[in-house]
């Protein structure tokens, strides 16, 4: 809007100002960026939406400034270029003008004040909201190179695939995420839901999201955290209330104990697996790696790096580095029989 006003004030024809009208920009951007599942211009929750609105204002003002100043610059370069036959005398020497200096000091200050006030509003809208008592509370713990999700109110511990219920537009209660880290710095960034928030050891940060549209939202770690920073992907499943209830019920159960795969379970419990992973209802209580109690219910393994199927699972257990070099889990050096057994066991843990 401001850029339009500025254009009209400068006497630029209306057609030019329509070109930079925020709605038009929004339309053009939407077409250009809809291809991506992680575009910041396709917000699906209030925090991302408020940033999107602000970004259009900021982009509009900046585009206006660019057109005016860049235009003047281009004009000066063309108009005052050296031409053949220019008289040998130097051009008139002009040393400055206090009035002009004052004007191009005051106008930018006014623009800065406008941009600051618009930004401050969005800062406080996002970061000064008290936590509603009925929220879904999730503790997000960044690890090298995977995500741990704890739901203290529901007694659930899971990894890499965050489930939250879609928000009812009539009674919007956002989900609250409390972020921290077990090792190095990480950052939680799902662009269509909210801006990023860092997960830092010895510090807790909060972030809230209120998506209404069920679906899968992607993102990834946005703070360099070590060798495999690139494959520390984020998957947020926004479920319908029914789906979410079903998911919670499944997660709250003790891990499946299928006698058909008892051999695999024995391999799991008698090898180093149990030192780092937990499977509820067994002797495996490790907390260094992801909780595997319901690992077969996930779509992906290795923090979204690969699809969760038998072949990938087997390859990952055999040597994680083949799928995710730098992963902290060591190659297990199991023989083929044990490998098959433990793969089969984990595949039953729905």
């Amino acid at each position: 809007m401001l850029s339009c006003l500025a254009f009209q004030a400068l006497g630029v024809p209306a057609a030019a100002s329509v070109l930079v009208h925020p709605a038009r920009i929004a339309g053009a951007l939407a077409v250009l960026f809809d291809q991506s599942s992680t575009s910041i211009f396709a917000p699906q929750a209030a925090p991302a939406r408020s940033v999107y609105g602000l970004s259009l204002l900021v982009l509009g003002i900046c585009a206006g400034i660019f057109l005016v100043v860049g235009g003047l610059l281009a004009y000066a370069v063309v108009r005052y270029r050296h031409r053949r036959g220019y008289s040998v005398r130097e051009p008139a020497q002009i040393y400055g003008s206090n009035q002009i200096e004052l004007s191009w000091t005051v106008i930018p200050i006014l623009i800065v004040v406008v941009l600051f006030l618009a930004s401050a509003r969005v800062i406080f809208v996002n970061q000064s909201v008290p936590k509603p008592a009925s929220t879904i509370d999730v503790t997000v713990i960044g690890h090298q190179y995977w995500w741990e999700y704890r739901y203290p109110k529901l007694g659930i511990v899971t990894a890499n695939e965050l489930h939250i219920p879609a928000v009812d537009p009539k009674h919007p209660v956002p989900a609250y995420l409390t972020l921290t880290s077990a090792d190095s710095d990480h950052s939680f960034w799902v662009p269509r839901l909210a801006g990023k928030m860092d997960a830092i050891p010895n510090k807790t940060n909060t972030l809230w999201i209120d998506p209404q549209q069920p679906g899968l939202y992607l993102g990834q770690c946005a703070q360099y955290c070590g060798v495999q920073h690139a494959k520390m992907l984020l998957r947020v499943y926004v479920d319908t209330p029914q789906q979410f209830q079903a998911w919670v019920a499944a997660q709250q159960k003790t891990a499946v104990q299928d006698p058909a795969v008892a051999q695999g379970r024995a391999v799991f419990e008698s090898n180093a697996c149990a030192n780092c992973h937990t499977v509820s209802g067994t002797s495996a209580h490790g907390v260094f790696g992801p909780d595997l109690s319901h690992v077969a219910g996930r779509d992906t393994i290795a923090s979204g790096a690969v699809v969760n199927n038998t072949a990938n699972l087997r390859a990952f257990i055999s040597d994680p580095a083949t799928l995710k070099p730098g992963a902290l889990m060591p190659a297990m050096h199991l023989n083929d029989r044990d490998l098959d057994a433990v793969t089969k066991y984990l595949s039953t843990l729905r």
Partner: protein, 559 residues
């Protein structure tokens, strides 16, 4: 430099002028500010080529999704070395090289205030860079093969602790920056002392060339900002070897503390790099517009203003660490305010062009490229200053595109411009304008292919510092374009290097004042004798050579 050594023969040991060994001795032991300046620039050019090659490797890897040409660890080393090298061993030495060469000449002095400190500063910085690269052979100490640091150029805690960085690669990083910092402070002391104490008669502060003013501001910034960086490096060493727990989060230390230490250096550092680029623009744009700089006092005020404000904006690198709404709002405001003095500079350059007689030499073409690109870089900077927008864009490829617009689009363009402008003074020969135009256009095409399109994957959610990326995110086409631009830039840079070498032997003879310019360095021979001026000049205005060439309308009456 054959001619300059001959001229200086009667001052230095005459026996030192026979053969390659003698020439080497001459360069290694020199305390002449011009030779030290050239040493600074040459070593910076070598590091620039090395770090540029590292960038090229990264762009090859990122050209397509899920590529596996480069191992993740190798990639992490590449971006760490690229960033560290460009900032500490290419950028700053290049700019200090020009400062060393130009400041004494422009104020009519015969050398820097402390010539030996000057030599010491160069060599310690240079060996800092050598030490950094030695880590490729020795980074893991006695066990295993060597490895370079892989903690990123801002080396966030706790990745630098011994738990996460065993071996010595991080120590090489720490120590090389410590050494570079000592050299940087030495040169800053020298520039401040030289500008304050050694100006020729008549050169009041209000008549000092703007380039010298800016180097004064840069040097003051160096004092304030290198100190916390050095302190942080020492604290990190204590953490790693004496069990201190400043940044050791496993023992209750603070990761955020490191961020504050680093960015209270790191952001003013951007201005340490960009103010010299402004300094070159302040000299080159007026000469090729054939007009005096518009608004000299405003330009000085804006430069000093930028210096002060730049000290209060560091935490805009930390908008996503959870500082809370109050600090986020404060640093948003402080960062946006810096756009005001920066804007004043752009407007004054524009007003200098206005009504001028613009000569499109290669130096001027690069300077005009700088103006357009710095305008865009400034505007994306305003976007990032708005902290909510930064929550989305911070640490994404949008940021990478933004700061490369500043570092390449503004700073490297002005460094090229400065070479085309002052190379004749330094060597006595002109750089080829024909090769220069090829260099310019190839570089402009490459620059815009790479860095314009690099903004887009950031807007589409692509974080920086990832060695590969998923195919289904819509990033692939943009990365392909970005990588293709890198090839143009590489070819253009090689053309430039060839031009530098070829022109040294075959370039047109320059004469003392090839550009019909106005500041004192053009009042002496090209290259200048080691004593610079046979007779100390006396000045009566900001443009002493203008006064000499136009006695009918000298500057003094208008200042």
């Amino acid at each position: 430099m054959a001619t300059s050594t001959r001229v200086t023969g009667h001052i230095e040991n005459p026996a030192a002028h026979h053969g390659a060994l003698a020439a080497l001795t001459d360069w290694v032991t020199t305390v002449d500010h011009k030779k030290i300046g050239i040493l600074y620039m040459s070593s910076a050019l070598v590091f620039l080529l090395v770090a540029g090659f590292e960038a090229l490797l990264m762009r090859v890897q990122l050209m397509i999704p899920n590529a596996h040409y480069i191992e993740p660890e190798t990639f992490n080393r590449l971006f760490t070395m690229h960033g560290t090298t460009m900032v500490f061993f290419a950028g700053m030495p290049m700019l200090f090289g020009f400062g060393n060469y130009l400041v004494p000449l422009m104020i009519g002095a015969r050398d820097m205030a402390f010539p030996r400190l000057n030599a010491f500063s160069f060599w310690i910085s240079f060996f800092g860079g050598v030490l950094l690269y030695f880590s490729y052979f020795a980074g893991s100490g006695l066990y295993g093969a060597g490895s370079a640091p892989d903690v990123g150029w801002f080396a966030y805690a706790p990745l630098t602790s011994r738990v996460f960085s065993p071996g010595h690669s991080t120590d090489y990083w720490t120590l090389s920056i410590l050494l570079s910092g000592i050299g940087t402070i030495g040169t800053a002391v020298n520039i401040v002392a030289t500008t304050l104490c050694m100006r020729c008669p008549g050169m009041k502060l209000s008549r000092m060339p703007l380039l010298v003013w800016l180097y004064l501001v840069v040097s003051a910034l160096v004092f304030v900002t290198i100190s916390p960086l050095t302190a942080a490096q020492i604290m990190l060493c204590l953490d790693r070897y004496l069990g201190a727990h400043f940044f050791d989060t496993q023992a209750g230390g603070s990761a955020v503390l490191w961020m504050h230490f680093f960015w209270v250096f790191g952001h003013p550092e951007v201005y340490i790099l960009v103010l010299p680029a402004f300094a070159f623009a302040n000299e080159i744009i007026p000469v090729f517009s054939r007009k005096a700089i518009f608004g000299y006092p405003a330009m000085v005020a804006a430069s000093v203003g930028i210096g002060f404000i730049s000290l209060s904006v560091w935490a805009h690198h930390m908008f996503t660490v959870g500082m809370g709404p109050g600090p986020n709002a404060f640093f948003t405001f402080a960062t946006m305010v810096i756009a005001v003095p920066t804007g004043i500079k752009i407007f004054n350059w524009l007003a200098t062009l206005w009504g001028g007689n613009i000569h499109f030499t290669v130096a001027m073409m690069f300077a005009l490229g700088f103006l357009f690109q710095f305008l865009i870089a400034g505007l994306t900077g305003v976007m990032l200053a708005s902290s909510p927008f930064d929550w989305q864009l911070g640490n994404s490829y949008f940021v990478v595109a933004h700061f490369h617009y500043v570092l390449v689009g503004a700073i490297v363009f002005m460094i090229f411009s400065a070479f085309y402008y002052w190379y004749p003074k330094m060597t006595g020969r002109m750089l080829s304008e024909r090769l220069g135009k090829w260099h310019f256009w190839l570089f402009v095409i490459g620059f815009h292919l790479t860095f314009d399109f690099m903004h887009v994957p950031g807007l589409l959610g692509m974080p920086r510092r990832i060695y590969t990326y998923e195919a289904d995110r819509g990033w692939a086409i943009w990365n392909m374009i970005v990588s293709s631009g890198a090839i143009f830039q590489a070819v253009a840079t090689l053309l430039f290097a060839w031009n530098m070498v070829r022109s040294y032997f075959k370039g047109e003879i320059a004469g003392p004042d090839p550009w019909d310019a106005w500041t004192l360095e053009w009042a002496t021979n090209s290259p200048p004798p080691s004593y610079n001026f046979a007779v100390t000049p006396t000045v009566e205005s900001r443009r002493p050579l203008w006064d000499r060439k136009h006695p009918e309308e000298p500057d003094a009456q208008f200042e």
